[in-house]
Each structure stands twice: as structure tokens, then as C-alpha cells.
């Protein structure tokens, strides 16, 4: 289905606002990223940084209103998802681009058997008969390594454990062999051991199918384990974009640096874990200029003047910090 290295999903300058009684609030501001076949792209950020909103906006599942896409494109193989009609988009979202969510208990319909829910994909997108669709659903459950899949296909979501339910979600998302999987905090609600199993499962299935994975997470550990590239978001902006190894070894943006510094590690045993001072800003009152400057240890007066542009500091490395990018001022693409 995909050729290796092909750009599958390309998001460009995406801006999303929410209408609130106190005026519009900008949750995502000029975000750009892309994911290639076989690549895992992590979108890293705290809650409220706009990481989920950006993917929900481009797949059209964001409630609009109050949400509103102000600008930007999201091209799946050259076709802009944002510009197309709902009907056209439904042929891609749910078929070629699929999603899994964080809380598998509330993300599955409680009164439908998991088999019916997986089979629905085949019935709606492939027009399969009920019987064939259910058979395929059972095969899918087997592929995500649920024991006794043929029997469990009739069970309901509440009869599965958290980890098994997330496997069901995965089976549903991968049922139609999609090109891009958007996984929105897929392991956040799970135990650490189960987390690792699920991530491993995603990686295995990705390798089999050569699909692109967009992994939304707030967990640097998850990023370092599975991501090829990482996009760091803060208060709706992309502040750093790099390959995972580069970002973890030599972070450019002070925010990424702060995140890395606050990771528990063996070296820091017995010491107090450093934290980034302060809290993320409310989207209603984002500081002028660089949104991170109020928490940044190296902020200078210049930082308050204008929003730092995302600039390329090295090949494949972009950052939005006037202190760190002034060396080479080539605008990032």
C-alpha cells in the first residue's frame, strides 16, 4: 500500500481556535509536521499544549463549533483533509487514517460487543456481510494477540482488562490496514508493564504494514522508546522538531531541556528531581512573545517582543528560541 519513506500525512501551518464566552482562544498555532511510511512521529507536550486538538481537528472529529480551524492544510497523499467535504473525508478518516484513544473503557461503546464494533469498520468501509465482517474481526483480535479471540469476539468492553481493551481499540483501528495510525496517549491509562506490551505491539504491527504512526504523548520515556522523530509542543506552538536521538541528546529549546532534566534517572538517585518552575500558561493568557519565557531560566527582555519563529538550526532540526537559533537563520519548512 505504501512505498517506503513516502510522506503520508503532511500538516502545514495548522491553527485551531475555540470560541469561548470570553472570546476566541487559540489552542493550536501554526503547527506543521509530517509523517512518512514506516515512521513513528511523537508529538510531545503537556496537557493543554494542543497536541490532541491538532490531530482531532485535521481528522474532523473535533466538535466544531466551539472549535474552528483558522488556517492550515493537512494533506493525506496530496489531498487536503481540511478542505474536503465531510463525505470525502469519511472515506479517508476511519479507513486510511485511523485513531486510538487514551481511555479504552470510555472509548468503546459499552452496549456493543467488541466483535460488532470491529466488524462495523468492514461493514461500513468494505461492505462486507455481517458474518464475514465478524470473522475478520475475530482474526483482527487474534492479530493483536488476544487469547481465545474467536470466543472473545462476542464479549463486551467491560469484560476485558485495561490492556486487553486497548488491544481491542488497536484491532479496530488496524482492521482496514490503514496507512497512518494516530495514537492519542494510547498507554497513559495503563500499568507500566502493560504499557510496554502495547507499545511493542504497535511497533510490531507497524513494521508488518509499513504504516506511519503519530504518537501523541506527554511521556518522554515513551518517546525515547519508540519514536523516530519528535515534535515538542508548548502552549499551542511547536517549539522543537528533531529526530528523537538528537532531541534527547542535544535539546535545543530550553523547554525540551527542562523536560529532559526532570526525567528520573539512575544518575540522579538520592537527589531531588529537578522540575520546570511554574505551570503551563492558560491559553486565555499566553505571555507575549515566547510563551515559555515566564518559566525559562535564560529568558531575556527580547523574548517578550515577538513570537520566536521556528528556525532550522541544523539539517532536520528546528527550534523556536531566539537565543538558540540566532546562529543560523534559515526559516524552517
Amino acid at each position: 500500500m505504501t512505498t517506503p519513506g513516502e510522506v503520508l500525512l503532511k500538516v502545514d501551518d495548522l491553527t485551531v481556535e475555540f470560541d469561548t464566552p470570553h472570546g476566541p482562544v487559540r489552542a493550536v498555532d501554526g503547527v506543521s509536521w509530517q509523517v512518512r511510511a514506516g515512521e513513528t512521529l511523537a508529538i510531545l507536550g503537556e496537557s493543554g499544549s494542543g497536541k490532541s486538538v491538532s490531530t482531532q481537528a485535521l481528522t474532523g472529529i473535533l466538535e466544531m463549533p466551539p472549535g474552528r480551524i483558522v488556517s492550515g492544510t493537512a494533506e493525506y497523499r496530496g489531498a487536503d483533509l481540511i478542505a474536503m467535504t465531510v463525505k470525502e473525508r469519511r472515506k479517508i478518516v476511519g479507513d486510511r487514517i485511523t485513531m486510538v484513544f487514551q481511555d479504552s473503557l470510555s472509548a468503546l461503546n459499552p452496549v456493543q460487543s467488541v466483535g460488532t464494533q470491529i466488524a462495523e469498520c468492514y461493514r461500513v468501509h468494505r461492505g462486507l456481510s455481517k458474518k464475514d465482517a465478524l470473522k475478520r474481526a475475530a482474526e483482527m483480535l487474534d492479530q493483536v494477540r488476544i487469547p481465545a479471540a474467536a470466543r472473545r469476539v462476542r464479549d463486551y468492553p467491560h469484560e476485558f482488562s485495561g490492556g486487553m481493551r486497548q488491544r481491542v481499540m488497536l484491532a479496530m483501528a488496524l482492521a482496514l490496514d490503514p496507512d497512518v495510525l494516530i495514537a492519542d496517549e494510547p498507554t497513559t491509562a495503563l500499568d507500566v508493564t502493560v504499557q510496554a506490551q502495547i507499545l511493542e505491539l504497535i511497533a510490531d504491527l507497524q513494521a508488518e504494514r509499513d504504516m506511519g504512526v503519530v504518537l501523541i504523548t506527554h511521556d518522554l520515556g515513551v518517546v525515547s522508546d519508540v519514536a523516530d522523530n519528535v515534535v515538542v509542543m508548548y502552549a499551542g506552538h511547536v517549539v522543537e522538531r528533531a529526530s528523537t536521538a538528537e532531541a534527547l541528546d542535544h535539546p535545543v529549546h530550553p523547554y525540551t531541556e527542562g523536560l529532559l532534566g526532570s526525567m528520573p534517572s539512575a544518575d540522579l538517585k538520592g537527589q531531588e528531581l529537578p522540575t520546570i518552575p511554574g505551570t503551563p500558561p492558560s491559553l486565555r493568557a499566553i505571555p507575549s512573545g515566547c510563551a515559555f519565557r515566564t518559566r525559562c531560566p535564560m529568558a531575556i527582555d527580547e523574548c517578550a517582543k515577538e513570537v520566536p519563529p521556528l528556525l532550522t538550526v541544523a539539517p532536520g532540526r528546528d527550534a523556536a528560541c531566539i537565543l538558540r537559533t540566532s546562529i543560523s537563520e534559515r526559516e524552517a519548512v
Binding site: I92, V93, G94, F101, S106, N109, P110, Q112
Partner: protein, 308 residues
């Protein structure tokens, strides 16, 4: 399933005892002498009074009276009312009246509640939704009694569209006005619950999942939103159904329909403990049966409560 039903019926027995005992005690505690009340201002010879008192066990201690009337009820010897009417005959005449009224009232109530609730839920924040909110607020704020009398006056006395009272015009004409009144007083709660439940469900995560699966809005609505949104609605419909008897007491008294509710009303006025307990037991049995039915239906539509 059968074990579940049996368990529920067994559990109903002690509750039934408590309910009947409580109702009997309340009637017993009411002030006034039933026989004197029946006679009005006319003097009654002491001998007649004593004979009547003995016939209805009125001089026995409370618990003996209770047990005697329970015995009568279970052996099917309903006896006669203080006024001399055969209670079994009365039941035969009155049960159909109440059933007709309750069914019609329930149909109005459910149809109006579901229709308005569903529509407002689908088109939330639309004109209909806001009108419904206003209408339900008015209905919930106006006491049923006021509404019954207003309806009777407006459509019966002034406009003469429907009979004012009695059953002379037969089914369904005589029942329409009281049934509509029952429907109006009862639909508001159902409509609001249905609306809220749909709105809540439409915002839930699994609906987001359904969207992410690329399903059409109609499919999402019928396959994912409604089956979940209607769960609490079914519960309320059951409670409404079971509570319809209470509405019937009021409606039958005001519209002078010779049903069980009116019978109950008269029996309470006359302090006829036996009749009150008999009718309460009937209502209680209905309540248990309806609740059982709701539980069985609920198990069928919600897999999470099966086998409990």
C-alpha cells in the same frame, strides 16, 4: 434469568408485608370513627352499631385487625364495604376503568416525553429545544391539581370539546381529557431526561471513536448514541408506569371516573382499612411486576448489568 426473577419475587415478600402493615397502621391512626362518618348526622341504634363493629372487627386490637384483613385478602374473601357493596364486584367493575385511563395516560406521557426529548436532544440549542425547556419548566412548576381543574374547566366546561366528567361517553371520549392531563403532568420529566441523556451521550468518548471510524452521522446516532442514551430513559419509564396509579387517584376523583383510584379515595375518607390495604397491595404487586419487567428489559439492552 429464572433464578434472578425468583430471587426478586422472594425479596418482594418482606417488602410487601412492611408496606401493607404500614398502610394499615396509617389508616388505623386516622382520627374519627368510620361508621359514624358513614351514617352522617343520623343517629344509629347502639345495637346496630355494635353489630357492625363486630362484623368489621373494629374493636379488635390493631394487629388482629391487620391479620384478619390479610387472611381475607389471601383467601379471596374480600367481603363488603362499610356501605354494603361487594368488594369483589367493585374490583371487577373498577379495574377496567383504571386500566383504560392509565394506559391512555401513559401512552400520552411516553409519546410526548420521548418525542420532545429525542427531538430536543438531536437539535440541541435549537428553537424547539428552548421551547421545550420553557414548557417543561411550566409543567413542572404548576401543581397537577391546578392543571387538572384548568383542563376540566377549559376543555369541558367552556369549550365543551370533551366530557366534563363521568364515563357516560364511553371509551375513549370520557378518558381523553383526564389521560391528557396525566400525560402533561408526567411528560416533562421524561422529556428532559431523554434530552439530557442524548446530549451527554453525544459528547462521550465512544461517539468520538465512532466519528474516527468514519461512520455517518445517522449510523452514529442510531447505533451508538441512542442505545446508550435510552438506558436511563427506560428506568424512568418504568418508574412512571408504576407511579401511574398515584396519578389515577387524583384524575379519577376530579373527573369522577369510577376506577380504583376513586375507590381508594373513598375508602381512605371512610377509614376502611381493609379496602385501603387491598388496593395498596394491588398497587404494590403492580409495582413489583413492572420493576421486574424493567430489570429484565434492562438486562437485555445493557450487557453490563446481565447476570447480577
Amino acid at each position: 434469568m429464572i433464578r434472578f426473577i425468583l430471587r426478586r419475587i422472594l425479596a418482594a415478600i418482606p417488602i410487601g408485608l412492611i408496606v401493607t402493615l404500614g398502610v394499615f397502621a396509617l389508616v388505623f391512626a386516622m382520627p374519627g370513627d368510620p361508621l359514624r362518618e358513614l351514617a352522617g348526622d343520623k343517629p344509629i341504634p347502639a345495637a346496630v352499631l355494635a353489630a357492625k363493629r363486630a362484623q368489621y372487627h373494629l374493636d379488635d386490637p390493631f394487629i388482629v385487625q391487620y391479620l384478619l384483613s390479610m387472611k381475607d385478602m389471601f383467601t379471596g374473601h374480600f367481603g363488603t364495604t362499610f356501605a354494603g357493596a361487594d368488594i369483589a364486584d367493585q374490583l371487577r367493575l373498577r379495574i377496567p376503568v383504571t386500566l383504560k385511563l392509565a394506559t391512555l395516560g401513559l401512552v400520552f406521557q411516553w409519546i410526548a416525553g420521548l418525542l420532545f426529548g429525542l427531538y430536543a436532544g438531536f437539535k440541541r440549542n435549537g428553537v424547539m429545544d428552548r421551547l421545550l425547556l420553557l414548557a417543561t419548566l411550566v409543567v413542572l412548576a404548576v401543581p397537577g391539581l391546578v392543571l387538572y381543574f384548568t383542563g376540566q374547566y377549559l376543555f369541558g366546561v367552556e369549550l365543551k370539546w370533551l366530557p366534563v366528567s363521568g364515563t357516560r361517553d364511553g371509551w375513549p371520549m370520557s378518558y381523553l381529557l383526564p389521560a391528557i392531563c396525566i400525560g402533561i403532568t408526567g411528560f416533562a420529566g421524561l422529556a428532559r431526561l431523554t434530552r439530557t441523556s442524548i446530549v451527554d451521550t453525544a459528547n462521550s468518548d465512544f461517539v468520538k471513536t465512532a466519528r474516527a471510524k468514519g461512520l455517518g452521522e445517522q449510523r452514529i446516532l442510531w447505533r451508538h448514541v441512542l442505545p446508550n442514551a435510552l438506558l436511563p430513559v427506560v428506568t424512568l419509564m418504568g418508574i412512571d408506569f408504576a407511579g401511574i396509579f398515584a396519578g389515577a387517584v387524583l384524575a379519577e376523583s376530579i373527573f369522577n371516573l369510577p376506577g380504583l383510584g376513586q375507590f381508594m379515595f373513598q375508602a381512605i375518607k371512610l377509614k376502611e382499612g381493609g379496602v385501603v390495604v387491598l388496593l395498596s397491595t394491588l398497587a404494590f404487586l403492580m409495582f413489583i411486576l413492572i420493576n421486574l419487567a424493567v430489570d429484565v428489559i434492562y438486562g437485555a439492552i445493557d450487557p453490563r448489568v446481565r447476570n447480577v
